[in-house]
Structure formats: C-alpha cells, structure tokens
Symmetry: C2
Subunit: 361 residues, 2 copies
C-alpha cells in the first residue's frame, strides 16, 4: 500500500461497555470498574481521554457504553458532546461496539483516523503513550491497522501476546501473530525473546481500512454498520440500530478482525500501562507507605504490613494485620486475603445465586 496524504485529525473511541466483577463491592452492575477512581483521583474512564492531552478535541471523542450506564458516564466526561455518546442496545463485545462508532465517524469522514481505547486501564506515562500513538497514526495512514504492543517487564501469564514480524520503518513492525495467554515457561521465553508484546486492546486505523477489514472477516458486521450509518439522523434510526446491532456477531475485535487481517502493525510501547485487573493492582498504581500498605482511605495503622485499604467515609483502624484487602462501601464491607483477589468473583457468584443478596450485586 502506497502512503497517501490524509487528514490527520484523530477520533478517539473509548470502549466503556465493560462490567467486571473483580472490583466488587466497589464496582456494581450499575457502576462498573471504568467509572471508579482506581488509579488516581479521577475515574479510569476520565483518565482515558484526559491522557490524550491535545491530540483530540472533546468534539472528536466518542464513547460507547451500555444504555444503563450512559447518565453516570456522561457526568465523568462532561465536555464530550451528547451526540458522541453511543449506547449499545446490548453488550455484544468490542467488534460490534467499534462498528457502531465507525458508523458515526465514517459518516462525517470516511477516511477518519480512529483510535480505540479500553476505558478501564491505567497509563502511568501519558507522554510516552502520545508518542506511540503518533507512530500508530502514521502506520494507520499507510493503510495498517496499528496496535500498541506493551513491552513486557515480567513473564505475565494473564494476558494475550502479540508477536512482531518485519520492521515497518521506525514506527513499528508488521504483526506476525496474536498468541493466547501463555503458561509460565512460555511467558519466560516470550519475555527473553524481545519479540512479544502484551495486547492492550488499543488500535489505531483509518475508518475505511477497518470497514474493508470488517467486509473481509466479519461481513455481517460490515453490512449492519452500513445500514446503521444510512439511518443516522433519520426518524427510524433507533429501530434500525436495535435490529442491526443484534445481527452482529458478539465477539472481540481481536478475534473477529485483528487475528485474521494481514495489514496488522504493532508499535512497541513502554508507557507504564496497567490493566488494573484486581484489587492487588492498587499496589502498583497507588503510593505505598513504609510498610507497603496502600491506603485509599483515612487510616490509623499499628503493626500492619502489605495491606490495601479502601474507604471513602469511615476511618479504617487496623492492628497487627498483613496482606489483607479491606474495602468499605456504603452497604458492603469486604475483607480478603490479598492473594485471593482473583476469587472475588466466587463471592459475586454467591450473590447471584441468593435472591436475598441480589441487591448487593
């Protein structure tokens, strides 16, 4: 593909449709993780756009989220215009969500430069992120679907990896393969090789390039996208959206497009990225005291080590405890062994199964 000269305006699209369970009871059905100030004093969603700095004006930014979360989400990003808030009729994973945003953006500018961001991650070094995004934009202008590949610093087994192929100038590499979460030994090899990056779900592409990729790898999505786009601004638009959204396969952009497309590029990114995957993440994104306690709360501690405390209202007093996570909310108090952060979902599962406990979901 020969490089063309395009409009370099970036249209960021934030995927805010998630509804995780690992931050219960902070996160709830009605208030998922991306709305929580987990890494700073601002919600992860708010951080996601603010860290772009001057790269995009609010009127260029789009947010896709669940219908029932729309009103909360809007309060967190008041500058994003009403028309840029896109409510998913149902949660159908990222491919349909991206198609929905593309319908809107490509109607304005069929060759618009689009960047997809998950709403629930943290980036400690936004400046480095912006440098990487600039490279990704350059690759996108050349017709690639670019993704940021996070340079790993540990043999993580919890993420999918991206293997780089041949270099594409100084901007990045062709993608050789997307690979599944590895076991410990494989992860060690990936780390040592320098050829593998973490897949952070950040994609940059031209609208027309992604529409073509949809047409090739998820044709039903491409068709639905075009019908939704044609209806925009007309009286029947909501009904068309409702009907067409349902027709799109509920899958991720990774599985539906990225793993199959032959024009994928990766930009190595060392940006202090963190997926903020469980309460234990707070140890990495929040400051610790001399005894490795993280206090997102007013605390009074005596002989305490390696704990994580979270409370908005109450004083948390602790004496002689180690490696606990203590989360205090209006109606639920959670105390858990820090090593069991991944198992919070078992509690949530119990809440689901017990009707009397449903209100705590």
């Amino acid at each position: 593909m020969a490089p063309k000269k395009h409009d370099n305006t970036l249209f960021p699209v934030v995927m805010a449709g998630g509804s995780g369970t690992r931050f219960w009871p902070l996160s709830r059905h009605s208030f998922p993780k991306q709305f929580l100030p987990l890494a700073s004093s601002k919600a992860l969603l708010t951080e996601t756009l603010e860290r772009l700095g001057n790269m995009a004006l609010p009127k260029q930014c789009y947010v896709v989220c669940g219908k029932k979360h729309l009103s909360i989400a809007r309060k967190l990003l008041p500058k994003v215009p009403r028309g840029n808030w896109l409510a998913e009729p149902q949660a159908r994973n990222t491919a349909p969500a991206i198609a929905l945003a593309l319908a809107h953006i490509s109607k304005k500018n069929p060759e618009a430069l689009v960047a997809i961001f998950p709403a629930d991650h943290h980036v400690a070094n936004p400046k480095a992120l912006r440098v990487c995004l600039q490279k990704a934009m350059d690759l996108a202008q050349q017709g690639h679907i670019a993704t940021l590949g996070i340079i790993p610093h540990r043999p993580e087994t919890g993420f999918g990896y991206i293997r780089r192929g041949e270099a594409l100038g100084e901007e990045g590499y062709k993608v050789r393969a997307f690979v599944e979460k590895p076991d410990e030994e494989t992860a060690q090899k990936y780390l040592a090789s320098g050829e593998y990056f973490w897949n952070a779900g950040i994609f940059v592409f031209r609208a027309d390039v992604m529409l073509e990729a949809f047409g090739k790898h998820m044709p039903e999505v491409a068709q639905a996208l075009l019908r939704i786009r044609s209806a925009l601004g007309k009286t029947g638009a909501p009904k068309v959206l409702e009907r067409e959204f349902r027709k799109m396969t509920a899958t991720s952009i990774d599985f539906g497009v990225a793993e199959k497309a032959d024009n994928m590029a990766v930009v190595p990114a060392d940006i202090g990225w963190h997926d903020v995957g469980s309460f234990q993440a707070l140890e990495e994104v929040k400051p610790r005291d001399d005894n490795d306690n993280v206090s997102c709360a007013h605390t009074l501690l005596e002989e305490c080590k390696g704990n994580i405390f979270w409370s908005k209202k109450r004083l948390v007093a602790a004496l002689g405890v180690e490696n606990l996570v203590v989360v205090d909310t209006e109606d639920v108090l959670l105390v858990l062994d820090k090593r069991k952060c991944q198992n919070v979902r078992t509690l949530v599962e119990k809440l689901r199964q017990d009707k009397k406990l449903n209100p705590y979901l």
Copy 2:
C-alpha cells in the same frame, strides 16, 4: 456474730460507671461497654438486672453511673425508677460509688440487704447465680460481707483470686485472702488446689455492716456517706454530694474494704461467668459456625476460619481470611489480628494523642 432475723428484701446495686477501651470502636467515651449487647441481644447492663429474675423488683434496684451516661443507661432499664439512678459527680472507682448507693438505701432501711454487681459481665447460667446469691444473702444476714467466688476452669492470669478459709456451714467459706493476679505457674497451682476462686466483684452485705466496715477501713468514706445521706431530699443535696464525693478516696471496694475486713465470706459459684474483657470474648459468649467464625453481622463468607465479625448495618463479605476481628461501626472500621485484642488500647491511645482523631474516641 449471732444470726439475727432481718428483712430479706434484696437491693441490687449495679456499678455502671466503667469506661473501657478494649471494645473500641463499638464502645466510646459516650457509650461504654456495659451499654453494648455483647453477649446477647440485650446490653450487658440490662442483662445484669434481668438475670436476677424475681429476686428484686425494679423499685429495689439502683444503678450508679457517670452523669453523661445517665440518659442512655435509663433507656436500657426503663422500669428502674428515676430516683434509683445515681449519678457519680466524678468517676472515683467502686468504693465511693457503693457509698453513694448505701447513702440512698440505708436511708430507707439501715439494715437493707444490698448486692453489688458490675454492669459489664456475662452470666450464662442465671439460675445458678440466683442460688449462689441466696447463700450469700444468708451469710450477709449473719453479718458477713459475702462475695461470689467464681470456680476457675482454667489457669487464668488476668484475674485477682480469692482464697477460701474455714467453712461457714453449707453456704460458703470465710475468706482467707484476696490475692493479686498470679503468673502462669502460680495460676496452675491455684487451679489444682481447689481453694482459689476468681474475684468477680459481686458482693452481698447488710447496709449497716458495710457502713461499719467503711468506718473501720475508710473512715472518710463513712463520714461522707453519712453527710450525703443527711442531705438527701433537702435543697442542698446536690451541692453536698458534689463536695463530699470528692473527699472519698478513689479506690476499689476490694482494695479499700474487702482485703482488710475480717468478716469477708466467699460463696463458690459455678455460674458460667464471663468478664467479656475483649473482642475475643465474643467467641465464648456467642455461637460459632462450623469454621469457628462468630458473626454478629450479616455475612457472606468463603474459606474463612476463626474470625469474629461485627456489623449492625453492612453486609460483611470475607474471603480466605483467618483469625481476624472485624468491627464495623457508623464512622470507624476496625480490623485486627484476634491475638491482639488486648492491644486495642494502643489505637485508642493514638486517637487521644491526635486532636484530629479525638472525635473517634
């Protein structure tokens, strides 16, 4: 002393002036331990009189407590008449508090049979208590100052002991000595000997007998008592009380009288007594689940063992934790290692020293 025939009406006096720190944040300056429902659904203070059953009508019952606690305390025992609530001008330990009650009771009946009860203990077997009290009343009618001696079931080093002397019929024994808290080895010997009992602070005596004992061992208390008594019902009474109460030595009835008097008697008591001395006591007075968790709260537990949970309002969810005490109150949340229950006072000390934290005291 020859036995005389006296009026057998019992006047229970509850000592409710305590202000412990080991149940913080449940207990506060303004709401001490005796007002808490630590052993049942009722406050320890309420239990203290209710367990006497038919032995005393409410109009015979007296409660001595701090001025600032009077209004809370009265709500817990609404049947006790207003005139039977005796406010200490200052906290001056049990000897002056008992003298204050004696001033009131002996004015009505100089030979009244009086029983002193701490307000903050638990008795699992009230029926057995009443049998012991009957014996103590018999000994008191004979001119003894009788005390209940709790039959020990373990070599406790945290309590003072009473050593029995010669038998006094079937009711009990003369007291040979009051002895200090022993070390572990000594406590073992006490337990093995069968001659030692725990001092539970329960005393039964005739008003005139105690007045005489005060005259002998704490003459300034006896004089103050008589002046307070003379002023009762007169306009100057509050001023006299204020002035005379201050003159009495601030010491316990144990140290001021019981350890010195030669007419002390002890009634061995196996009544399921518990001093409810710290959060750990809840394990003994409240039911446990199959994993030895005590839940004075609505709980959702997964892989939890040997914990104590207390919350009035919130759901307490816990995962993978052991031997913790978790106490949730309106404004403070406390999490501590169960083995450190005695050290809660170090937290309270810190609150005292930090003006910003004073409101939590």
